[in-house]
């Protein structure tokens, strides 16, 4: 497993040495990936942590201190961003995953005709880039010209100033994310469903279990590992939410849809305050870790 000794090349004569007997090919195969992985992924993870303790506005040789972290605890904008992110997370992820589960079960049903066309509909948003669909959603929810308000007034309901009120703006972002990512989760869940043996359902029907009972007692428990996977990915994705609030609502109105993602971007790449942005980034990582542990504890017991 682990190498207790460093893999230094033994002298060429020592043909019976450990290094001589070690095959070289696997290392050569891994080397290119490993170089990129270490340079552009592993090292930045460490570097970002170190940077969060430096006041980058003082230059590269600033002393290590806790100033960024103490600033975080008092920063009102950070609190707003954190709260908005968590509100979106708590509403959007359960909404999307329950819809995706129901969809996956429906798409997997033997009763469904034209299953290919239905899959087409639900998987299509997956291909749309975030910028493209942000533009479309901004147009759809335009107060004066948007199709959504036209439809609302058409059936006698009042028009909503979607993008200029905090509650409606949040719901537009939640709707947009749900529209885009439900199909993706449904694909993964569908694949999970297809891994469940037909025999289990047949045995259950013979014993007289109704479809509803089968869903709760068979499908959901057997789908749990897949659901857990979807949940962890969705939580990590939502914690980094950037494009939708940046392009649909421009973090507004006021800072009502500012997220940790847009705040990090603003601090890092508008104010070039790298140290402080790193502290925000590590907060995202810490929250992601906490959520992952909770999810594993709650849902990953026997997996």
């Amino acid at each position: 497993m682990t190498t207790s000794q460093p893999l230094s090349p033994a002298p060429r004569r020592a043909r019976t040495g450990r290094w001589a007997r070690t095959p070289k090919a696997p290392y050569l195969f891994i080397l290119p990936y490993l170089l990129i992985f270490l340079t552009f992924w592993a090292w930045p993870i460490v570097s970002s942590f170190l940077m969060s303790f430096k006041d980058s506005r003082l230059g590269a040789d600033a002393p290590y201190a806790l100033s960024n972290w103490s600033r975080l605890t008092q920063d009102e904008f950070f609190r707003t961003a954190l709260r908005n992110t968590l509100v979106i997370l708590v509403i959007q992820v359960p909404l999307m995953l329950s819809l995706a589960t129901v969809l996956a079960v429906a798409l997997n049903s033997k009763l469904l005709r034209a299953a290919g066309w239905f899959r087409f509909a639900f998987f299509a948003p997956l291909v749309v880039g975030t910028v493209a669909y942000s533009a479309v959603f901004r147009l759809l929810f335009n107060t004066d010209f948007g199709v959504v308000n036209r439809a609302l007034t058409g059936i006698g309901l009042p028009a909503v100033d979607w993008l200029n009120q905090s509650g409606p703006a949040m719901s537009v972002i939640i709707l947009a994310m749900t529209w885009r990512w439900t199909g993706y989760n449904a694909i993964i869940l569908l694949a999970g469903l297809q891994g469940i043996s037909e025999d289990v359902y047949e045995a259950a029907s013979i014993d007289g279990a109704t479809p509803t009972q089968q869903f709760w007692k068979i499908t959901l428990p057997l789908l749990r590992p897949t659901l857990l996977f979807c949940m962890v990915l969705s939580v990590i994705g939502t914690l980094q939410l950037f494009t939708e609030p940046a392009l649909i609502t421009n973090s507004g109105p006021g800072n009502a849809t500012m997220t940790l993602g847009t705040y990090l971007y603003q601090q890092g790449f508008r104010s070039f305050n790298f140290g402080y942005a790193s502290a925000i980034a590590y907060t995202v990582a810490a929250i992601a870790a906490v959520f992952s542990i909770i999810q594993l504890r709650l849902f990953g017991r026997e997996t």
Partner: protein, 290 residues
């Protein structure tokens, strides 16, 4: 489209009737939902063919018009769209080729060799998988822009994203299906390790490679945040970055944006959906272990 098993002949009339009723409700529930999922795409495609006056008229069009070229010319004038189209294609292609090469070589080694440090290395890669990409974005920027001075180049966009951890897991799983006896037989015949990989192992996992290639291409094609950070000159923009600058403006040219988003989306939609079956298998292969 999959062939669905028909109702079994020996079922009683009551069971058949009950099946018909539930099938009816199933379709009744799914159909509006499916239309809701398709509606934004339909509106995007239709609006790209109408002048702005029609888009903002009291009765917005629901069918295609004739202003596509006019909208495209406006878009081209605003963003040098053809240039950004070229940039996006070049970046996504280079990224896909290099990423496939790196992850398939690495995945092959993890799947088909035993070597000192293997578990330790794989554990390291596994451990970083749940870390949000956001954590690395600032050091990556400093590395690429300040240390390597690559801002506004294709490599600035490509290099950091090549560290694709999901890809290496996916390829490792694909190569685990290749029989080791086959590789050993080639070794006995005196084939070099490189040749065994290139001419025997790689062709066997071709379906997995195809699915991965399209997912990688799509991810790169649609990526927004990282290109936005490292590309600062208009001529180096990728398509999402160029469209993003338009959307961010207060005076928005919606006809042009709809053309841009339609061009960015519809060819891939067609490709993706024609290969749908591979994706269900492909995404599942990457997602669900054991």
């Amino acid at each position: 489209m999959t062939a669905r098993p028909q109702v079994a002949a020996h079922d009683s009339p009551g069971v058949v009737a009950r099946r018909r009723t539930s099938a009816f409700w199933l379709h009744l529930a799914l159909l509006p939902l499916a239309l809701l999922f398709l509606a934004p795409l339909w509106i995007m495609a239709v609006f790209s063919t109408h002048p702005e006056t029609a888009i903002f008229s009291p009765n917005p069009p629901l069918w295609f018009g004739g202003a596509f070229l006019e909208n495209f010319r406006g878009l081209q004038a605003d963003t040098n769209f053809i240039r950004t189209l070229f940039n996006s294609t070049a970046i996504a292609t280079l990224y896909t080729v290099f990423s496939m090469l790196l992850t398939s070589m690495g995945g092959y080694a993890f799947a088909k060799f035993d070597f000192p440090g293997k578990n330790w290395l794989f554990g390291l890669i596994l451990a970083t998988l749940t870390i949000p990409a956001f954590v690395t974005i600032i050091p990556q920027f400093i590395l690429v822009a300040r240390d390597l001075k690559l801002s506004n180049t294709y490599w600035a966009v490509i290099l950091p994203t090549l560290a694709n951890t999901i890809g290496i897991f996916y390829m490792r799983q694909a190569f685990q299906t290749v029989p080791s006896d086959l590789l050993n037989a080639a070794r006995i015949d005196g084939a070099s390790e490189g040749r065994i990989f290139w001419q025997i192992a790689l062709p066997i996992v071709r379906p997995a490679l195809a699915a991965l290639a399209i997912l990688l291409f799509l991810a790169s094609w649609n990526d927004y945040l990282w290109p936005l950070i490292v590309l600062t000159q208009k001529d180096s923009y990728t398509m999402p970055v160029a469209l993003g600058t338009l959307v961010g403006l207060t005076r928005v040219s919606w006809g042009g944006i709809m053309v841009g988003t339609a061009i960015a989306t519809i060819p891939f939609l067609a490709l993706f959906l024609s290969l749908q079956r591979h994706f269900v298998a492909g995404i599942a292969g990457g997602a669900v272990k054991d």
